[in-house]
Protein backbone atom coordinates (compact mmCIF):
# COMPACT_ATOMS: atom_id res chain seq x y z
CA UNK A 1 0.00 0.00 0.00
CA UNK A 2 2.71 2.43 0.91
CA UNK A 3 4.75 1.66 -2.19
CA UNK A 4 3.08 4.41 -4.18
CA UNK A 5 4.09 6.95 -1.56
CA UNK A 6 7.76 6.01 -1.38
CA UNK A 7 8.56 9.58 -2.24
CA UNK A 8 7.32 10.73 1.16
CA UNK A 9 9.23 8.13 3.17
CA UNK A 10 12.63 8.01 4.79
CA UNK A 11 13.23 11.69 5.46
CA UNK A 12 14.13 13.50 8.64
CA UNK A 13 11.47 14.52 11.09
CA UNK A 14 10.40 17.94 9.73
CA UNK A 15 11.05 19.71 13.02
CA UNK A 16 14.58 18.27 13.17
CA UNK A 17 15.17 19.35 9.57
CA UNK A 18 13.73 22.80 10.33
CA UNK A 19 15.89 23.35 13.41
CA UNK A 20 18.99 22.17 11.51
CA UNK A 21 18.12 24.55 8.68
CA UNK A 22 17.56 27.37 11.17
CA UNK A 23 20.99 26.76 12.73
CA UNK A 24 22.68 26.84 9.31
CA UNK A 25 20.86 30.09 8.54
CA UNK A 26 21.93 31.50 11.92
CA UNK A 27 25.53 30.49 11.19
CA UNK A 28 25.26 32.25 7.82
CA UNK A 29 24.04 35.45 9.47
CA UNK A 30 26.80 35.21 12.09
CA UNK A 31 29.50 34.77 9.45
CA UNK A 32 28.18 37.00 6.65
CA UNK A 33 25.58 39.39 8.05
CA UNK A 34 23.17 38.19 5.39
CA UNK A 35 21.14 35.04 4.90
CA UNK A 36 20.78 32.24 2.38
CA UNK A 37 19.29 32.61 -1.08
CA UNK A 38 18.77 30.90 -4.40
CA UNK A 39 16.98 32.93 -7.07
CA UNK A 40 19.79 35.48 -7.32
CA UNK A 41 22.03 32.73 -8.70
CA UNK A 42 19.40 31.77 -11.30
CA UNK A 43 19.07 35.43 -12.34
CA UNK A 44 22.85 35.74 -12.76
CA UNK A 45 22.90 32.52 -14.78
CA UNK A 46 20.09 33.85 -16.99
CA UNK A 47 22.10 37.05 -17.53
CA UNK A 48 25.29 35.14 -18.41
CA UNK A 49 23.50 32.84 -20.88
CA UNK A 50 21.81 35.83 -22.57
CA UNK A 51 25.14 37.67 -22.60
CA UNK A 52 26.68 34.79 -24.54
CA UNK A 53 24.13 35.37 -27.31
CA UNK A 54 23.65 39.14 -27.27
CA UNK A 55 26.29 40.83 -25.09
CA UNK A 56 25.43 44.38 -26.08
CA UNK A 57 21.71 43.97 -25.45
CA UNK A 58 22.35 42.50 -22.00
CA UNK A 59 24.81 45.21 -20.97
CA UNK A 60 22.31 47.86 -22.06
CA UNK A 61 19.31 46.11 -20.50
CA UNK A 62 17.77 48.06 -17.64
CA UNK A 63 17.72 45.01 -15.39
CA UNK A 64 20.70 42.86 -16.46
CA UNK A 65 23.06 45.85 -16.60
CA UNK A 66 23.38 45.76 -12.80
CA UNK A 67 25.34 42.50 -13.23
CA UNK A 68 27.63 44.06 -15.85
CA UNK A 69 28.74 47.33 -14.32
CA UNK A 70 32.14 48.53 -15.51
CA UNK A 71 34.91 47.05 -13.39
CA UNK A 72 32.60 44.45 -11.86
CA UNK A 73 33.63 40.81 -11.57
CA UNK A 74 32.19 38.17 -13.87
CA UNK A 75 28.56 37.79 -12.68
CA UNK A 76 29.07 34.20 -11.57
CA UNK A 77 31.98 35.09 -9.27
CA UNK A 78 29.51 35.92 -6.58
CA UNK A 79 28.51 34.80 -3.10
CA UNK A 80 25.00 33.63 -3.98
CA UNK A 81 26.21 31.69 -7.02
CA UNK A 82 28.80 29.78 -4.99
CA UNK A 83 26.17 29.15 -2.32
CA UNK A 84 23.82 27.60 -4.87
CA UNK A 85 26.66 25.49 -6.29
CA UNK A 86 27.00 24.30 -2.69
CA UNK A 87 23.25 23.57 -2.51
CA UNK A 88 23.61 21.30 -5.54
CA UNK A 89 26.68 19.53 -4.11
CA UNK A 90 24.99 19.15 -0.72
CA UNK A 91 21.94 17.73 -2.47
CA UNK A 92 24.10 15.23 -4.35
CA UNK A 93 25.85 14.11 -1.15
CA UNK A 94 22.50 13.74 0.63
CA UNK A 95 20.93 11.79 -2.24
CA UNK A 96 23.87 9.44 -2.63
CA UNK A 97 24.37 8.75 1.08
CA UNK A 98 20.64 8.01 1.42
CA UNK A 99 20.69 5.88 -1.77
CA UNK A 100 17.83 8.00 -3.02
CA UNK A 101 18.87 8.89 -6.56
CA UNK A 102 15.61 8.06 -8.34
CA UNK A 103 15.48 9.56 -11.82
CA UNK A 104 11.91 10.43 -12.70
CA UNK A 105 9.20 13.04 -12.53
CA UNK A 106 7.37 14.17 -9.41
CA UNK A 107 3.67 14.38 -10.25
CA UNK A 108 0.29 13.21 -9.07
CA UNK A 109 -0.47 9.53 -9.86
CA UNK A 110 -3.14 10.43 -12.42
CA UNK A 111 -1.35 13.33 -14.12
CA UNK A 112 0.32 12.74 -17.48
CA UNK A 113 4.00 13.42 -18.02
CA UNK A 114 3.18 15.97 -20.72
CA UNK A 115 0.89 17.91 -18.41
CA UNK A 116 3.40 17.87 -15.58
CA UNK A 117 6.36 19.02 -17.67
CA UNK A 118 4.31 21.72 -19.41
CA UNK A 119 3.15 23.08 -16.07
CA UNK A 120 6.66 22.81 -14.58
CA UNK A 121 7.88 25.07 -17.38
CA UNK A 122 4.98 27.52 -17.14
CA UNK A 123 5.24 27.61 -13.35
CA UNK A 124 8.94 28.28 -13.72
CA UNK A 125 8.27 31.26 -15.97
CA UNK A 126 5.69 32.79 -13.63
CA UNK A 127 7.77 32.04 -10.53
CA UNK A 128 10.89 33.39 -12.20
CA UNK A 129 9.20 36.71 -12.93
CA UNK A 130 7.91 36.70 -9.35
CA UNK A 131 11.40 36.30 -7.88
CA UNK A 132 12.70 39.31 -9.80
CA UNK A 133 9.80 41.53 -8.83
CA UNK A 134 10.09 40.46 -5.20
CA UNK A 135 13.92 40.44 -5.24
CA UNK A 136 14.05 36.97 -3.76
CA UNK A 137 12.37 33.64 -3.25
CA UNK A 138 11.50 31.20 -0.50
CA UNK A 139 15.11 31.13 0.72
CA UNK A 140 16.21 34.75 0.46
CA UNK A 141 12.95 36.59 1.05
CA UNK A 142 10.67 34.28 3.02
CA UNK A 143 13.15 32.36 5.17
CA UNK A 144 16.10 34.75 5.61
CA UNK A 145 14.04 37.94 5.56
CA UNK A 146 11.30 36.35 7.66
CA UNK A 147 13.75 35.26 10.36
CA UNK A 148 15.16 38.80 10.55
CA UNK A 149 11.61 40.21 10.78
CA UNK A 150 11.79 42.22 7.55
CA UNK A 151 8.40 43.74 6.68
CA UNK A 152 8.59 43.10 2.91
CA UNK A 153 9.62 39.49 3.51
CA UNK A 154 6.55 38.80 5.61
CA UNK A 155 4.33 40.46 3.01
CA UNK A 156 5.99 38.30 0.34
CA UNK A 157 5.59 35.10 2.39
CA UNK A 158 1.91 35.71 3.12
CA UNK A 159 1.27 36.51 -0.56
CA UNK A 160 3.08 33.34 -1.70
CA UNK A 161 1.21 30.94 0.54
CA UNK A 162 -2.21 32.62 0.28
CA UNK A 163 -1.95 32.53 -3.53
CA UNK A 164 -0.67 28.97 -3.69
CA UNK A 165 -3.39 27.63 -1.39
CA UNK A 166 -6.05 29.50 -3.41
CA UNK A 167 -4.68 28.36 -6.77
CA UNK A 168 -4.12 24.72 -5.70
CA UNK A 169 -7.71 23.78 -6.55
CA UNK A 170 -7.17 24.71 -10.19
CA UNK A 171 -4.12 22.52 -10.67
CA UNK A 172 -5.30 19.59 -8.55
CA UNK A 173 -5.17 17.28 -11.58
CA UNK A 174 -1.43 17.85 -11.73
CA UNK A 175 -0.94 16.65 -8.15
CA UNK A 176 -3.70 14.03 -7.70
Amino acid sequence: MTREFDYAQGFWNPYVAGIALGLVLLLTFYLMGAGLGASGAIARSAAVIAHGVAPQAVENNGYFSEFYKTGAKFPLVNWIVLEVVGVFLGGVVAVLTARRFRPGIGKGPNASTGLRLTLAFLGGIVGGIGTRLAMGCTSGQALSGGATLVVGSWVFMMAVFATAFAAAYFVRREWS
Partner: protein, 204 residues
Protein backbone atom coordinates in the same frame (compact mmCIF):
# COMPACT_ATOMS: atom_id res chain seq x y z
CA UNK B 1 37.22 33.80 22.86
CA UNK B 2 34.35 33.96 20.39
CA UNK B 3 34.27 36.97 18.13
CA UNK B 4 31.25 39.19 17.64
CA UNK B 5 29.48 38.71 14.34
CA UNK B 6 28.73 39.33 11.58
CA UNK B 7 32.35 38.46 10.91
CA UNK B 8 32.53 39.31 7.21
CA UNK B 9 31.02 42.75 7.72
CA UNK B 10 33.56 43.43 10.48
CA UNK B 11 36.35 42.60 8.06
CA UNK B 12 37.43 39.39 9.81
CA UNK B 13 37.80 37.63 6.47
CA UNK B 14 37.87 38.78 2.86
CA UNK B 15 35.99 38.19 -0.37
CA UNK B 16 37.72 34.97 -1.39
CA UNK B 17 37.14 33.39 2.02
CA UNK B 18 33.52 34.53 1.80
CA UNK B 19 33.12 32.46 -1.37
CA UNK B 20 34.39 29.43 0.52
CA UNK B 21 31.86 30.18 3.27
CA UNK B 22 29.19 30.37 0.56
CA UNK B 23 30.11 26.95 -0.73
CA UNK B 24 30.14 25.39 2.76
CA UNK B 25 26.85 26.84 4.00
CA UNK B 26 25.36 26.02 0.59
CA UNK B 27 26.37 22.38 0.97
CA UNK B 28 24.79 22.25 4.43
CA UNK B 29 21.67 23.98 3.10
CA UNK B 30 21.31 21.60 0.15
CA UNK B 31 21.97 18.55 2.31
CA UNK B 32 19.23 19.54 4.76
CA UNK B 33 16.74 20.43 2.00
CA UNK B 34 17.19 16.93 0.57
CA UNK B 35 16.89 15.28 3.98
CA UNK B 36 13.69 17.26 4.56
CA UNK B 37 12.25 15.65 1.43
CA UNK B 38 12.34 18.84 -0.64
CA UNK B 39 13.96 17.26 -3.69
CA UNK B 40 10.58 16.02 -4.91
CA UNK B 41 7.78 18.35 -6.05
CA UNK B 42 5.13 16.13 -4.45
CA UNK B 43 6.56 16.68 -0.99
CA UNK B 44 6.55 20.42 -1.67
CA UNK B 45 3.03 20.75 -3.06
CA UNK B 46 1.23 18.33 -0.73
CA UNK B 47 0.95 21.22 1.75
CA UNK B 48 -1.48 23.00 -0.59
CA UNK B 49 -3.80 19.96 -0.49
CA UNK B 50 -3.46 19.45 3.29
CA UNK B 51 -1.99 15.99 2.69
CA UNK B 52 1.38 16.58 4.28
CA UNK B 53 2.28 19.86 5.95
CA UNK B 54 6.02 19.22 6.15
CA UNK B 55 6.86 22.42 4.24
CA UNK B 56 5.12 24.49 6.90
CA UNK B 57 6.77 22.54 9.73
CA UNK B 58 10.27 22.85 8.28
CA UNK B 59 9.97 26.51 7.30
CA UNK B 60 8.39 27.75 10.49
CA UNK B 61 10.73 25.81 12.78
CA UNK B 62 13.73 27.06 10.77
CA UNK B 63 12.55 30.66 10.89
CA UNK B 64 11.80 30.51 14.62
CA UNK B 65 15.18 28.88 15.33
CA UNK B 66 17.09 31.58 13.47
CA UNK B 67 15.05 34.43 14.94
CA UNK B 68 15.52 33.14 18.50
CA UNK B 69 19.20 32.44 17.78
CA UNK B 70 19.80 36.02 16.66
CA UNK B 71 18.20 37.37 19.85
CA UNK B 72 20.28 35.01 22.00
CA UNK B 73 23.53 35.88 20.19
CA UNK B 74 22.68 39.56 20.57
CA UNK B 75 22.08 39.14 24.32
CA UNK B 76 25.40 37.31 24.66
CA UNK B 77 27.15 40.16 22.89
CA UNK B 78 28.12 37.84 20.04
CA UNK B 79 26.11 39.53 17.30
CA UNK B 80 25.91 43.17 16.31
CA UNK B 81 22.35 43.31 15.06
CA UNK B 82 22.58 47.07 14.39
CA UNK B 83 24.91 46.33 11.46
CA UNK B 84 22.09 44.41 9.80
CA UNK B 85 19.69 47.30 10.34
CA UNK B 86 22.18 49.76 8.91
CA UNK B 87 23.69 47.84 6.01
CA UNK B 88 22.54 44.37 5.08
CA UNK B 89 18.91 43.71 5.93
CA UNK B 90 16.71 43.15 2.88
CA UNK B 91 15.00 46.34 1.80
CA UNK B 92 11.24 46.50 1.59
CA UNK B 93 9.56 47.49 -1.66
CA UNK B 94 6.02 46.86 -0.53
CA UNK B 95 3.93 46.61 -3.71
CA UNK B 96 6.45 44.85 -5.95
CA UNK B 97 7.06 42.32 -3.19
CA UNK B 98 3.34 41.72 -2.77
CA UNK B 99 2.79 41.26 -6.52
CA UNK B 100 6.01 39.24 -6.78
CA UNK B 101 4.74 37.03 -3.96
CA UNK B 102 1.46 36.39 -5.78
CA UNK B 103 3.31 35.42 -8.98
CA UNK B 104 5.80 33.33 -7.02
CA UNK B 105 2.97 31.52 -5.21
CA UNK B 106 1.36 30.69 -8.56
CA UNK B 107 4.71 29.50 -9.88
CA UNK B 108 5.24 27.36 -6.78
CA UNK B 109 1.95 25.44 -6.94
CA UNK B 110 1.89 25.21 -10.75
CA UNK B 111 5.58 24.47 -11.22
CA UNK B 112 6.00 22.41 -8.05
CA UNK B 113 9.25 23.93 -6.84
CA UNK B 114 10.96 27.02 -5.63
CA UNK B 115 14.45 27.86 -6.91
CA UNK B 116 16.52 26.25 -4.13
CA UNK B 117 14.45 23.08 -3.97
CA UNK B 118 14.54 22.75 -7.76
CA UNK B 119 18.35 22.62 -7.57
CA UNK B 120 18.05 19.79 -5.04
CA UNK B 121 15.46 18.19 -7.33
CA UNK B 122 18.02 18.15 -10.13
CA UNK B 123 20.52 16.55 -7.73
CA UNK B 124 17.83 13.92 -7.01
CA UNK B 125 17.42 13.14 -10.72
CA UNK B 126 14.04 14.78 -11.19
CA UNK B 127 13.41 15.87 -14.78
CA UNK B 128 10.55 18.18 -13.82
CA UNK B 129 12.86 20.24 -11.61
CA UNK B 130 15.28 20.80 -14.51
CA UNK B 131 12.32 21.86 -16.68
CA UNK B 132 11.17 24.20 -13.89
CA UNK B 133 14.63 25.80 -13.74
CA UNK B 134 14.55 26.22 -17.53
CA UNK B 135 11.21 27.98 -17.08
CA UNK B 136 12.66 30.22 -14.38
CA UNK B 137 15.53 31.31 -16.61
CA UNK B 138 13.01 32.01 -19.37
CA UNK B 139 10.85 33.99 -16.94
CA UNK B 140 13.84 36.07 -15.89
CA UNK B 141 14.55 36.83 -19.56
CA UNK B 142 10.92 37.92 -19.91
CA UNK B 143 11.33 40.13 -16.84
CA UNK B 144 14.51 41.69 -18.23
CA UNK B 145 13.05 42.15 -21.72
CA UNK B 146 9.99 43.90 -20.33
CA UNK B 147 11.97 45.92 -17.79
CA UNK B 148 11.21 49.26 -19.50
CA UNK B 149 7.52 48.52 -18.82
CA UNK B 150 7.77 47.61 -15.13
CA UNK B 151 11.14 49.04 -14.12
CA UNK B 152 9.58 51.97 -12.26
CA UNK B 153 7.14 49.68 -10.42
CA UNK B 154 10.07 47.40 -9.47
CA UNK B 155 11.65 50.19 -7.42
CA UNK B 156 8.41 51.69 -6.09
CA UNK B 157 7.07 51.92 -2.51
CA UNK B 158 10.63 51.81 -1.16
CA UNK B 159 10.38 51.65 2.62
CA UNK B 160 14.08 50.94 3.15
CA UNK B 161 15.37 48.52 5.79
CA UNK B 162 12.27 48.27 7.89
CA UNK B 163 11.40 45.55 10.37
CA UNK B 164 8.21 44.43 12.07
CA UNK B 165 9.44 45.61 15.51
CA UNK B 166 9.99 49.10 14.06
CA UNK B 167 6.54 49.20 12.48
CA UNK B 168 4.84 47.88 15.61
CA UNK B 169 6.99 49.99 17.93
CA UNK B 170 7.88 47.04 20.15
CA UNK B 171 11.21 45.34 20.99
CA UNK B 172 12.44 42.66 18.57
CA UNK B 173 12.41 40.17 21.44
CA UNK B 174 8.64 40.52 21.67
CA UNK B 175 8.12 40.00 17.92
CA UNK B 176 10.48 37.02 18.04
CA UNK B 177 8.41 35.52 20.86
CA UNK B 178 5.30 36.15 18.76
CA UNK B 179 6.90 34.31 15.84
CA UNK B 180 7.53 31.31 18.09
CA UNK B 181 3.92 31.36 19.30
CA UNK B 182 2.71 31.68 15.71
CA UNK B 183 4.89 28.74 14.72
CA UNK B 184 3.46 26.57 17.51
CA UNK B 185 -0.09 27.57 16.52
CA UNK B 186 0.72 26.79 12.88
CA UNK B 187 2.07 23.34 13.84
CA UNK B 188 -1.16 22.60 15.67
CA UNK B 189 -3.29 23.85 12.77
CA UNK B 190 -1.15 21.82 10.35
CA UNK B 191 -2.10 18.65 12.22
CA UNK B 192 -5.77 19.59 12.01
CA UNK B 193 -5.39 20.34 8.30
CA UNK B 194 -3.96 16.89 7.64
CA UNK B 195 -6.95 15.31 9.42
CA UNK B 196 -9.36 17.53 7.51
CA UNK B 197 -7.77 16.63 4.11
CA UNK B 198 -10.35 18.23 1.80
CA UNK B 199 -8.75 16.60 -1.23
CA UNK B 200 -7.73 12.94 -1.21
CA UNK B 201 -5.51 11.76 1.63
CA UNK B 202 -1.93 10.64 1.51
CA UNK B 203 -1.62 7.12 2.91
CA UNK B 204 1.41 6.78 5.08
Amino acid sequence: MVMTGPLYMQGVFGFQASLLVALVVGILFGFILERAGFGDARNLTNIFYFRDMRVLRVMFSAMATTAVGIVVLKWLGLFDYSMLLDYSLLQTYLWPQLVGGVLFGLGFVIGGYCPGTAVVGVASGKLDSAVFLGGMITGIWVFAAGFPLWGSFYKSSDLGRITLPQVLGVPMELVTAAVVVMALAAFWLAGLGEKWAPYEKLEK
